[in-house]
Symmetry: C6
Subunit: 266 residues, 6 copies
């Protein structure tokens, strides 16, 4: 089953999945329906590309607030697909290169993908690939034009390609014509309500007795019941650091101290 595959993170044969699994340092926690709908839809798209004869190309955009888990979702779907070609195009690997060079590197990955019968390409953090900044606004039109074309270009006969984009600036991609260039758009929300609890319960991070109070502290100090999964896991890690045994439950006081410090300083 797909979810199981996602959690197990089985590396596909022949695909370099090291970079992909690096994107899931905290694993994938099944935090509820919202997660399952996302995982499900990605699974369907993977299998459609694999099976349908007349849709050799599919593209899906994962869009949502910073830290909501977009990259991890994309990476886990890519790994679970077991497609012979699976690659992530990430701004991290192109630091300091010129627009032109970045455009070429992106194009190169697609050309490699076209050589494999079945491929997945993850375009991670698209606004960063575009060198976007809100002041101006400025961005690389050269890279944008490369993406606009590659996202719609059919692979050669007999090749199949799934493109997964991620972005925390969906509203910016819209007027660029990038959002609507994807066949499907999926929203990846931050955690809310019971989802927060589900993540805090996972791996017995808190003693069951402490859970309710731990959540209440979070809500009262955050000023909001909505929190991105990436931030929540970072705070839990900060609270965990003075534990005697690394995998024991987080004491309430450690949790409260971390949240109070951060609330103080922001």
């Amino acid at each position: 089953d797909f979810e199981a595959a996602l959690s197990e993170v089985q590396p596909a044969f022949g695909a370099n999945t090291e970079n992909l699994s690096k994107a899931m340092t905290h694993g994938i926690i099944d935090y509820g329906d919202a997660y399952r709908h996302l995982a499900n839809t990605l699974r369907t798209l993977v299998s459609q590309v694999q099976n349908s004869a007349k849709t050799p190309m599919m593209s899906v955009l994962l869009e949502g607030p910073s830290g909501s888990g977009k990259t991890a979702l994309a990476a886990s779907a890519a790994i679970a697909s077991q497609f012979p070609f699976a690659k992530i195009i990430s701004p991290e690997d192109m630091v300091g290169y010129s627009e032109q060079s970045k455009g070429s590197q992106i194009t190169k990955v697609f050309e490699d993908a076209y050589k494999s019968p079945l491929s997945i390409v993850v375009l991670d953090d698209i606004e960063r690939l575009l060198e976007y900044v809100a002041i101006g606004p400025r961005f690389s039109n050269a890279i944008l034009q490369v993406l606009l074309v590659l996202i719609k270009k059919q692979p050669p006969a007999g090749r199949k390609l799934l493109i997964i984009g991620t972005s925390s600036a969906g509203d910016v991609l819209e007027p660029m014509g990038l959002s609507s260039a994807f066949n499907v758009q999926l929203h990846v929300p931050a955690l809310r309500g019971a989802e927060v609890e589900a993540v805090m319960m996972a791996d017995s991070s808190f003693a069951e007795a402490d859970l309710r109070e731990a959540v209440e502290t979070l809500v009262s100090l955050c000023g909001s019941a909505v929190v991105p999964v990436k931030k929540l896991l970072l705070w839990m890690e900060m609270a965990r650091q003075e534990l005697a045994e690394p995998n024991g439950p987080i004491p309430l006081e450690a949790w409260q101290k971390v949240l109070r410090d951060l609330a103080n300083t922001r």
Copy 2:
């Protein structure tokens, strides 16, 4: 007869029509009067260029919403013309090249065309050729100036040329002076009402009994009775993927599931 020719897609001798036919993966479906008027006018223009002595050059712009079938129409007209020179200038073949290089490549195709007694050049997705983006707005003025001149330039004595442009950004080409630089402008609309039904009926994609309900589902989930032919055919293909026999009719449930999923995620 022209329509027949369009559907049969007979490759012209001596013209490289591979790229042209690639633009019609789903064939050409006669979905009603609107289609026939478009096909007719294109046919007239082809024959005028072929026959008239004093109009060695004609240019027509196919303009309409994304996915309405502009490229397929242009390609099929080019193939049906059987002109010895028929070429599509597509952004897909120029990914990542510089403005200057793109300008040269475009010019080169026209210069080649001038060497043939009868030529068709398709300028596909003009806003993409221009590297247009709404923010700014930005675009390549170098490429725009090349197009503005080439679209009005007379071929040398004894040569004849038909230019077919396609664009889903007609409102943008207007202030650039590009729309009015074409001799004729044709609007290619999205499907509406009976046209949608005609496409769904074609190739017995749905069992006749299901057709009415299939259309109703589409309208209610789309929130609109207007849909571009390209999207409609993609959704049908998605619904078809779990069929036992690839060419059988699409079951209503599969159709409803696909549309519901997409409506959910957008």
Copy 3:
């Protein structure tokens, strides 16, 4: 007589008039007073440059709507002058060159002109030479500055020069300081009323009996009684294409079909 000379298009000795005559594919039709005033004034300027000792340089701008006949007028005046040096500087011959290169090519033509005792230089489609586009607006300031200086620069002692510019963007040239840099500005209007009829009557394009109805059809389908001569001649050519004998009169039905098709599609 000048008009006769214009119609006869006698190539001047030593001047390359091929490009110039290419600009008059449909000849010059005397469509009334407006035309004659324009032709007259051009003739006067030609002879002033030829004769006056203290005005070795004259410049005139032909400005008017797209297709009103500016280039043909300039070319015919240049040919009729029989000046030993007569050259048209046209954007068509500089497609894809850089601003700098275009600037040099323009300068080169003027330098060649300065070597001849009597010269005419036609600066055709000035807004295109300037790579002008309304969005922005953008244009080549490098080329503009070249034009601004060349249009006012005196030829060397003993040399005489007439510069004829054409533009369908007079309102744009004004704030650039280009319009007022010309010694004389002439407006070339589109055809209206009796002028339209005069052009349709020329060369017996219509049977006399059909003329009134042909004109009425034009006015009612155009939504206006004003039409540029270039468009009118193109439409007539389109209507002429299914004629048995190429020079026979245009049947009313053919004329009506062409106009109806075009009205439909715009």
Copy 4:
């Protein structure tokens, strides 16, 4: 006496005055007080640079409407000075060069001037030197900065320099800080009233009996009693062209025809 010197245009020994005298094709006509004040002030500045020990550098800007005679005034003052170094820096001699190259050429002239004990440099048509255009506005900041510094820079010990700038865009030079960088600013107005008459009377261009009517025609067809000297002299030259003897008086009819034609076409 200075005025006499201006009219006689005696070339200074050792100074290349060819380009300077080219700027006065129509000579210098003493048209009244306004002219004499301008000529006088220029003379005073010339002699101050020549005589004063503590003002080795003076700069004066001649600013006024297009064609009002700025360049001719500057050139005649430069020639009359008989300074061993007298040079005009004109946009005409730098057509098509890059900003950088223009900057260097300008700097070079000043460096040459610094080698002569007494120099005059005319910076002609400063807005054109700056590649200024009102749309934007755009201009070469590189050239502007060169001018801003050179206009204030002291020549080396023992060298003296007078800089005369001309411009018909005084309002533009102001916010650039260029106007106030000149030590003195002089306004050169267009002709008005009796001044117009004075110019028309000079060299017996009109028969005395015709003068009043000739002036009246001008005023009524111009719609204004203000006219730049350069334009007035051009129109007179146009009217003169059909004369039997080149230096005879201009017949009233010829004058009226020229003015009527121009009024018509504008």
Copy 5:
């Protein structure tokens, strides 16, 4: 204890701390609670990076008014950490380099850091690294994009990294997405009230009897009771200059004269 370590400034083995200690010419004065909270939080972050397994990377932004002590705080934390790799990236060391070169130099430091098991990188004066200026505004998007990625990029397996940024333009970094890219943001305020007194008392800079009046002079001449520590220490140094013995207390008159002079001239 951490504070002690900060004051003692013990250079870490193997780390080049020369540039770091240069940033603390006036040492670190414990001026009250605000200082201790800042020092404390920095200490916690240092130890978390050192100890936690799942947070190999931490980033903190020190933001506050000009001269409030950001760089000194960052430098002292870096030195006190005794991490084997500790480096400050400062605009001072990149004067006059191109954007590209600056981007490379910054990237290089991070790549060096990735080779050490434990590293601290100080990004000093981020708005200056970005070549920011409020007019426009302008800044280097190339450098910004480098920072945006490097601040979020995970070091390779087994490496740990603490990034400390400093900026006196926090409001500018916000719309650039830079502030929120840091895991933690700390505000470094100017001195106020008792904090001012604490700094003036340190090292017996004033005779105890003079302190109250010295503070009052400052407040009345400054027009405000808020002053950045860097400015306060500079003024004290100016007042100290005419002392007989360099470490004696500052006489009231010297203090008053310095403040009065500065108040006068501003």
Copy 6:
């Protein structure tokens, strides 16, 4: 005594003071309190850099209207300091160089200064160094960033540096962050009231009996009692030019004629 030193302009040993003294063609006139306060403060800053151990670097900005004497003040302070290294960085010496080159030249002077135990660097006419123009506004951000860093950068251990900047565009330097980057800001005003008289009295430029009337003429023709010292000295020089003996007093009539001419022409 400092003032005496300023007037005597004693060149310091080892420092190239030629360029510095060139900035004081008219010497330094003690025109009153305002001048003495400025000269005094500069003297204090010079001696602080020389003596204080903990302030190896000081920077002061002289800001005021065009011609108020900023450059002369800076130059005289630099010469009087007798520092072994004293250099003026002036736009005059960098005419026509590229931004990059200017940036390097500026940096080079600072690097040279860092090699001397005691240095003064004058940054003259900062807005010109920055290639500033109000239209846009435009300026060299590359040069600005160089200045912003160099003005705050500490010299190496054991080196001491005084930076004196001059600018007549203080309001422009403010939003660039340049004004506040200087440790001290001094306003250099134009002359007013008794100061004007003091300058006119100096060196017996006017006969005592004429003084009152000479001042009144100035005020009435200037339309204001405020005048920059540089302009006043220029006008006096112009009035002096027709004197029999170069150092005699200026006759009232000569003075009135000069002022009247200038008032006329502006």
